[in-house]
C-alpha cells in the first residue's frame, strides 16, 4: 500500500534516514532504532509517496530478528540475524532516499 497525501505526518524521509544513520554510527541501539523507526514510519509526511507496506515489512524483518535473539536470551544478534537487519536497513534506506 502506498499512502497518499491524505496522511499529514510531520516526519520526513530525511528524518528517518537520520535515525538510521545514528544507528549505523553506534549512537542508537537496536531497541531504540526499532521504537524510533516505528514511530517515524507511521508519522511520515506524504508529500511524496512512500511504500508504507514495504517499510512495515522491512521493519518487521528487523523486529523478528530482534525478537528471536531476545527470546533466546542472546546478548547480541547472530551473524544471520545481523545480516537480516542490515539487509532490511538497506531496503529502507533505498525507499526513503527515493522519497526524499
Amino acid at each position: 500500500m502506498t499512502i497518499n497525501a491524505a496522511h499529514h505526518g510531520r516526519t520526513t524521509p530525511k528524518d528517518v534516514l537520520e535515525t538510521i544513520s545514528q544507528f549505523q554510527k553506534g549512537q542508537l541501539r537496536l531497541a531504540g532504532l526499532l521504537d524510533r523507526l516505528w514511530a517515524q514510519i507511521h508519522d511520515l509526511s506524504q508529500e511524496r509517496s512512500v511504500d508504507m507496506e514495504r517499510l512495515e515489512d522491512l521493519w518487521t524483518d528487523i523486529e523478528i530478528a530482534y525478537a528471536q535473539a531476545s527470546a533466546e536470551n542472546q546478548t547480541t544478534l547472530s551473524a544471520i540475524q545481523a545480516a537480516e537487519v542490515e539487509r532490511a536497513i538497506e531496503g529502507m534506506t533505498e525507499i526513503l532516499r527515493r522519497a526524499s
Binding site: 500500500m1 549505523q24 554510527k25 553506534g26 541501539r29 537496536l30 531497541a31 516505528w38 507511521h42 508504507m52 507496506e53 512495515e56 515489512d57 518487521t60 523486529e63 523478528i64 530482534y66 525478537a67 528471536q68 535473539a69 531476545s70 527470546a71 542472546q74 546478548t75 547480541t76 544478534l77 547472530s78 551473524a79 544471520i80 540475524q81 545481523a82 545480516a83 537480516e84 537487519v85 542490515e86
Partner: protein
C-alpha cells in the same frame, strides 16, 4: 582440538598446534587469527613460555588491526586472553561491533497455556494488546508465512501481527500494523 580456555596459558606445543590449526582455518579464534606463537626462554635448565601471541587479520574489525597481540605469561591470565576476536562471519556490519540486545522489562511468562517471551510481553504492554487478541490471531488460517524459524500470523480484523517460534509455540513478538504483511 580443544578450544583455547582462559583458565591456563597454553604451552609451546599447544601454541604450535594452534598456529597449525590457524593456518588450516580451524583455530578456535576462527579466521581472525592468522598466526599464533610463543616466545620462550630457558631457566634452570627448563624451557618455559615467556609470552604467547596471536596475530589478527586486519579485516576482522577495529579491535584487530593486524598488530601482534601479546599475551604475557606472568602466572595469571591477562585481560582478553582466550577472548575470541570478531571474525568476518560475525555481525559487525557497518558498526564494526556486534549488535546488542537489550534486556526488556518483562520476564517470559505462560498465559493460558501459551508461552510468551519477555520481549513479546513488552511489545503487547507498550501497544495495548491483550493476550486474548494475540491468541485470537494465532490461527492456522491467519498464517502468512513461515521462515527462518518464525511463523508470522496476521489477524486482518484486528490488524495484529503475531510471530511465533514454531519449535516452542512461544509468542516472540506481537504488534499492530497498518498494512498486511507480505506473504
Amino acid at each position: 582440538m580443544a578450544a583455547l580456555s582462559p583458565a591456563a596459558m597454553p604451552d609451546r606445543n599447544t601454541l604450535r598446534a594452534l598456529a597449525q590449526a590457524a593456518a588450516r582455518g580451524e583455530a578456535p579464534f576462527q579466521s581472525c587469527i592468522v598466526s599464533v606463537g610463543a616466545h620462550t626462554r630457558v631457566r634452570n635448565g627448563k624451557q618455559e613460555s615467556v609470552s604467547a601471541y596471536t596475530r589478527a587479520n586486519p579485516d576482522c574489525g577495529e579491535e584487530s588491526d593486524g598488530s601482534w597481540i601479546a599475551v604475557q605469561d606472568r602466572g595469571s591470565v591477562p585481560p582478553g586472553y582466550g577472548q575470541r576476536l570478531p571474525g568476518p562471519q560475525d555481525p559487525v556490519g557497518r558498526l564494526r561491533s556486534p549488535i546488542e540486545i537489550d534486556r526488556g522489562t518483562n520476564p517470559p511468562a505462560d498465559i493460558r497455556g501459551r508461552p510468551y517471551s519477555g520481549h513479546a510481553l513488552d511489545r503487547m504492554q507498550g501497544r495495548g494488546l491483550s493476550p486474548s487478541a494475540v491468541e485470537n490471531a494465532v490461527r492456522a488460517e491467519n498464517l502468512v508465512r513461515s521462515s527462518r524459524g518464525a511463523n508470522l500470523y496476521w489477524d486482518p480484523v484486528n490488524r495484529i501481527m503475531v510471530v511465533v517460534d514454531p519449535r516452542t509455540n512461544t509468542v516472540i513478538t506481537a504488534i499492530p500494523r497498518s498494512t498486511a504483511p507480505r506473504r
